[in-house]
């Protein structure tokens, strides 16, 4: 390999590392992405043009066409698709990567004189094929699930056992091929098919909410497939890049599980137990979305206007000092913060006033209901802390509700609503709250003091 190409690969590898590193921080993520992308571009261009092979023009043309076509399609899809469809798109693209790896393996299997090739190379080729195939079909499956096109969830007991026996069979077949050095395309295609089937079987039983974890896992697998292909070609950028993606992917997968309060094992194997969580709280009203302190912190950090709605729960949690800290922190970051005080929030007239005065919240940060209601339109994030009835739209919409006719804080007009409470329990009036099922609402479950403390520390790290 030419020295220039080596150096190009080296540079690309470094851009991958730096890019990944920068992707880990909100402020630098964008530039990280660009850096990694340009490194990738460099590696691709380098690979095409710097080599000492005699390559017929037609092949260049084909490569050019392939790249052009793929780029345009990829670009268009990425640009056109709605924001909410992003995760399934990632899954789709990931599947393509896996397919690409599998195809390379298939070609190389064809090219190589298997019986004469060293066992380790054959093993490498087969690994690339199997992993690539699994990733491909698994990702498509995940795509379908997120998409809503695949709905069925297999619910036979001992499913996992069947699943595991199947993959063991596939691996055994591969091992047999490696050991014997048989050059059989039938067996090869059997392997490919096995991988494809396993990918489907693997993803099938996992619930929709867990899909992101699965995608991350499959993504990690694609990285490994790329690395294996790298070994095949003794190509450092593929090797290192693949390994990076592989290891980072695994850690990311685990981090996602932790953030969802689950273990990786329970995501993959626990699929027969309840889909769990407060999701199942009120089927009639739709489903709720829960969020994390970390996500909320980011959202608030990048917001221009934030309104805090304190309620009785703030008093119960005695979180007045922390909320003041949060407000000060946001203000120091240039966010415009106000408190919307509903006249009957809490359990006595002026309850919120006493509470917030205790933590020295400036009086002019507290805004009365009538004055703040028109401002919600213009608000990026509303943080509802331990309030319930005072933000219940049933007061407007539901004449049968005991609170019908009571004026409320119109938090629904804000761009994002984050509601902190400990559970889906009702408030004083004893009625459900539609707001929690609003598409713009994310629930941030937990004791207000704990949650706000987390928010503060997340914000401090940004």
């Amino acid at each position: 390999m030419s020295v220039t190409l080596s150096i190009i690969y080296l540079i690309a590898t470094v851009t991958f590392i730096v890019g990944l590193k920068k992707l880990g921080h909100p402020d630098t993520a964008k530039s990280g992405n660009l850096i990694a992308a340009s490194g990738m571009g460099l590696a691709i261009v380098g690979t095409i043009f710097i080599h000492d092979l005699e390559v017929p023009t037609i092949i260049y043309v084909l490569i050019g066409v392939a790249i052009l076509v793929g780029s345009i399609i990829g670009w268009l899809i990425a640009i056109k698709v709605e924001m909410t469809k992003m995760p399934e798109l990632v899954s789709l693209f990931n599947g393509f990567g896996g397919a690409s790896a599998a195809l390379i393996g298939i070609v190389e299997f064809g090219n190589a004189d298997i019986s004469a090739t060293s066992a380790s190379i054959v093993a490498t080729i087969l690994a690339a094929i199997i992993i690539g195939a699994i990733t491909f079909s698994g990702s498509l499956m995940a795509y379908g699930k997120l998409n809503g096109s695949v709905k069925s969830v297999i619910k036979i007991p001992q499913y996992n056992i069947v699943n595991n026996i199947f993959i063991i069979g596939v691996v055994a077949l591969a091992a047999y091929l490696v050991a014997t050095g048989i050059d059989s395309s039938i067996l090869l295609y059997a392997l490919v098919a096995g991988g494809l089937v396993y990918g489907v079987l693997f993803v099938m039983p996992i619930g929709g909410a867990d899909m992101p974890v699965v995608i991350s896992l499959l993504n990690s697998l694609t990285g490994i497939a790329a690395a294996i292909t790298g070994v095949l070609y003794d190509n450092m950028v593929m090797l290192v890049g693949g390994i990076l993606v592989g290891s980072a992917g695994i850690i990311l997968t685990i981090a996602m599980c932790v953030a969802m309060n689950r273990t990786l094992v329970s995501v993959i194997f626990g699929s027969f137990t309840a889909t769990g969580g407060p999701e199942s709280a009120n089927k009639a009203m739709g489903s709720i979305k829960s969020t994390t302190a970390s996500d909320t912190a980011i959202m608030m950090n990048y917001a221009t206007n934030v309104i805090i709605v304190p309620g009785y729960g703030l008093a119960v949690a005695q979180a007045q000092h922390v909320i003041h800290e949060l407000e000060e922190l946001l203000t120091s970051k240039g966010v415009n913060v106000k408190y919307a005080v509903h006249p009957v929030a809490g359990r006595m007239p002026g309850h919120m006033n006493v509470l917030l005065a205790e933590s020295n919240v400036e009086y002019d940060m507290l805004v009365e209901m009538d004055d703040i209601n028109p401002q919600f339109n213009n608000t990026d994030v509303v943080l509802v802390v331990g309030a319930n009835d005072v933000v219940n739209p049933a007061a407007h919409n539901d004449p049968s509700s005991p609170i019908y006719g009571m004026p409320i804080l119109d938090v629904e007009n804000a761009k994002h609503i984050v509601v902190n409470k400990r559970s889906m329990n009702v408030g004083y009036a004893g009625i459900d709250n539609e707001l929690f099922y609003n598409a713009k609402t994310a629930m941030l479950f937990g004791d207000a003091k704990k949650v706000l403390t987390d928010l503060v520390s997340e914000l401090k790290n940004m």
Binding site: Y312, Q318, M348, G350, A357
Partner: protein, 366 residues
């Protein structure tokens, strides 16, 4: 529609039922407002102010003559009723459950009467709920009164001349007044304890920083947010649980009430005798018979160094705020009862139904 604001005739009450600010709002909405001469003086609202905002100042008789709707804070009394005519609509607190004679007298005039204190305790009625708005102020003022009467200060202070230990405040009844009393005493640095028959008040008291004294509570629950009368057994258990705190307290504020009933006796004379020399009891339930056996309304009784102050004047003593809030309640209530400045009563509606005590001379509730 013509609204008349009467001066409060009850001795010591400095409030006025409708403040200038609300007068302005009423006038703006198209109501005609008549104000009795000097009605607002004691709560710092001069006649001129009302006049400037579009109200007509007139004599008491003039108000009765000109206005259809007559508004007061305290119940209409015999004197008032003499001038009430058939088509008058009276709005005030009536305490109809404890005042059957008054209600009868009103019915006899053939007029219509709403009682503000009968407002149901439901979320959407909160902005017309005079009990809440006034009791809230009472809770605050009771603490100020206590602090004023005591020979000790509230907060802990470690000074060069020695440490002053914080005063201990005990609150009976964690309703609206009790909660505000807790908050105020706590703010001033006292160590606050509280007790109530309704178990859900524990969390509420604690949310304001008080220690709650739980009395084992089996049967006695609340009803529609209000307490029911306590059983004798409960009373005994309550005494046991609270006595230790009571005997160490520097200030005791009692606010316990049961709607339509005499206030429960929570502190006996015997208990008072065992209290600390210099302790003060503020009995906000004095008008309903008092939570303390020895308390007398508007009097200070001294027993073995303990001052027992029976009062309800607390909201009157913060007349400016009290009038503003009462006025706002009335305003919301009138808004609730009217459509385009005309009465339109939905007797199916809980609020109208519960508060309409006498309709055209017919008594609806008792």
């Amino acid at each position: 529609m013509k609204i008349g604001i009467l001066k409060e005739s009850t001795k010591g009450d400095k409030r006025v039922s409708i403040s200038p600010f609300i007068t302005k709002k009423l006038v703006k909405k198209g109501f005609e407002v008549f104000v009795e001469e000097g009605a607002g003086v004691k709560s710092l609202s001069e006649d001129a102010e009302y006049e400037a905002l579009g109200a007509t100042i007139t004599s008491r008789e003039g108000v009765f003559k000109s206005a259809q709707v007559l508004v007061k804070i305290n119940p209409f009394d015999k004197n008032d009723l003499k001038q009430v005519k058939k088509d008058h609509v009276l709005i005030s607190q009536l305490y109809h459950k404890s005042n059957p004679e008054l209600i009868k007298a009103i019915a006899e005039t053939g007029a219509t009467a709403f009682s503000m204190d009968a407002m149901p305790r439901i979320s959407r009625a909160q902005d017309m709920d005079v009990l809440s708005s006034q009791n809230n102020l009472a809770g605050y003022k009771a603490v100020i009164l206590g602090a004023y009467e005591m020979t000790k200060i509230f907060p802990l202070m470690m000074t060069a001349a020695g440490t002053i230990t914080p005063s201990k405040v005990l609150i009976y009844g964690v309703g609206v007044a009790g909660l505000q009393a807790i908050a105020t005493a706590k703010r001033l640095g006292a160590v606050v304890e509280a007790t109530d028959i309704r178990t859900e008040t524990k969390e509420q008291a604690e949310s304001l920083g008080a220690k709650f004294i739980s009395v084992e509570n089996s049967g006695e629950e609340s009803e529609g947010g209000y307490a029911k009368e306590a059983s004798e057994d409960y009373q005994k258990r309550q005494k046991e649980a609270v006595n230790k705190s009571l005997f160490q307290a520097d200030l005791v504020i009692t606010t316990a009430m049961v709607p339509g009933k005499k206030a429960p006796t929570l502190i006996t004379k015997d208990q008072v005798k065992q209290m600390k020399n210099g302790a003060v009891i503020i009995d906000l339930a004095a008008a309903q018979g008092g939570n303390c056996e020895v308390s007398k309304l508007n009097e200070t009784v001294k027993i073995k160094g303990v001052k027992v102050i029976g009062t309800t004047v607390a909201p009157e003593s913060v007349s400016t705020n009290a009038s503003d809030l009462y006025a706002k309640n009335i305003y919301n209530f009138i808004k609730h009862l009217t459509k385009d400045q005309n009465f339109e009563w939905d007797l199916e509606d809980e609020i109208t139904d519960e508060t309409l005590i006498v309709k055209d001379g017919v008594q609806r509730k008792n």
